[in-house]
Symmetry: D2
Subunit: 138 residues, 4 copies
Amino acid sequence: MTPISRITYRRRVQFAETDASGIVHFTNFFRYVEEAEHALWRAAGISIAERDAEIGWPRVAASFQFKRPLRFEDQFEVDLVVAEITGKTIRYSAVLRKDAELAAEGSLTIICVRRRPGEPIRATDIPPHIRSRFAVAD
Amino acid sequence: MTPISRITYRRRVQFAETDASGIVHFTNFFRYVEEAEHALWRAAGISIAERDAEIGWPRVAASFQFKRPLRFEDQFEVDLVVAEITGKTIRYSAVLRKDAELAAEGSLTIICVRRRPGEPIRATDIPPHIRSRFAVAD
Amino acid sequence: MTPISRITYRRRVQFAETDASGIVHFTNFFRYVEEAEHALWRAAGISIAERDAEIGWPRVAASFQFKRPLRFEDQFEVDLVVAEITGKTIRYSAVLRKDAELAAEGSLTIICVRRRPGEPIRATDIPPHIRSRFAVAD
Amino acid sequence: MTPISRITYRRRVQFAETDASGIVHFTNFFRYVEEAEHALWRAAGISIAERDAEIGWPRVAASFQFKRPLRFEDQFEVDLVVAEITGKTIRYSAVLRKDAELAAEGSLTIICVRRRPGEPIRATDIPPHIRSRFAVAD
């Protein structure tokens, strides 16, 4: 299987995602990026959250710059790109567009952790069977 | 400790809870009731979700009738009452008021389940040390 | 255009919709039903929330009975049916299934209101151009 | 009234804010900061979203670095500080702590816009009666 480095995720704004100013509440942009991330992992043939998995992927950093509002029923796309992979972390870049116009751009960094009952969560090296599925985009 | 049968939970509407029609999105009323429920359990000296607990409390039924909208920064209260306790379930009634006016009334039923690794979730009797904390309201 | 009386809406559980008990938080079932409702309206050729529309559709009642939990990445479908139409209200019935197994069933009632600047919201008859798009299911 | 430059906002984690990995879903940290922001405005004697106001405050940038997870029923505080004010924008810095330990730190930038029916949203100078309520923290 060829390593994957990007995905385009298509979505429609749902009513519950809007707020009283009439536009998508800004926190939902972070949800959209995470949904795109999980679609990327599925496209890579794996799930980011297997049941009872020892490995987990908490977020260590997230940021967005908002350029144009999205509204109820708008259709938009998230272009998610693997921007950097280190021993323990993956950083994605994301661009949201509606009708080819930039709506927002952001970044999300996740870290690989090991969770064992009774032990504190600790950062760990990305397992090879996961690392091999992804490649940094050009 | 006297068994507890009701609580009044006070809250302010947050902006993220509103939608593009300018009022609180209806799904948040169910959140408010659940917040009141967890406040009731804390007032009873226990947590409804201890870490690594074998016992869990999924919801089996939830309903609301909406009478008056709530808006950003409105202050309201949830009157939550223990309406019925059976061997395995607890049913609450809830009334939301703003400035003494009825905003919504609803009902929430939860069931006690046992979760063991590798086994399906199954309904179980409410443990006595939990049952003894609650009493059905008059 | 033939009046519409039902829709099957397909969806995948997103991670942000789960809670610490490992399953979909119950409030999201109400979101799923509303998403199906809005898909039904789009299938009828209209939007339930046109920008700057005088007519709005607050929810007056919502209920669910939960039978089986949904988990991250589960694929499920919402069968939404127009169950009753009165002069001012529409009531839907909804059944959620995963792999043909019942996950939850519920009901949602909405009311047609008129909103004018400086006036209180008041219930109003469903306009004929909207009423004609829907039919009660057999 | 003395201009305000910071607030400490106290909060408890609600169950609906957790996800299947057992911790607060990262998007809720952005909600917490926004709640603190609105508490700051109330402390300054104003609301950030008056009904029918011509002025609005969309977010133009938001970022967080996550250091320690928060869990159900954790009590934490958000220290929100006015970090910068320009002619049209306000930037806040935020630090979240639980038991005096750093949980996350972030930044939020908002812009003042004018919304008139039938016109596009456009950036505008912060009105003096709002500007005078806030001061940049030392």
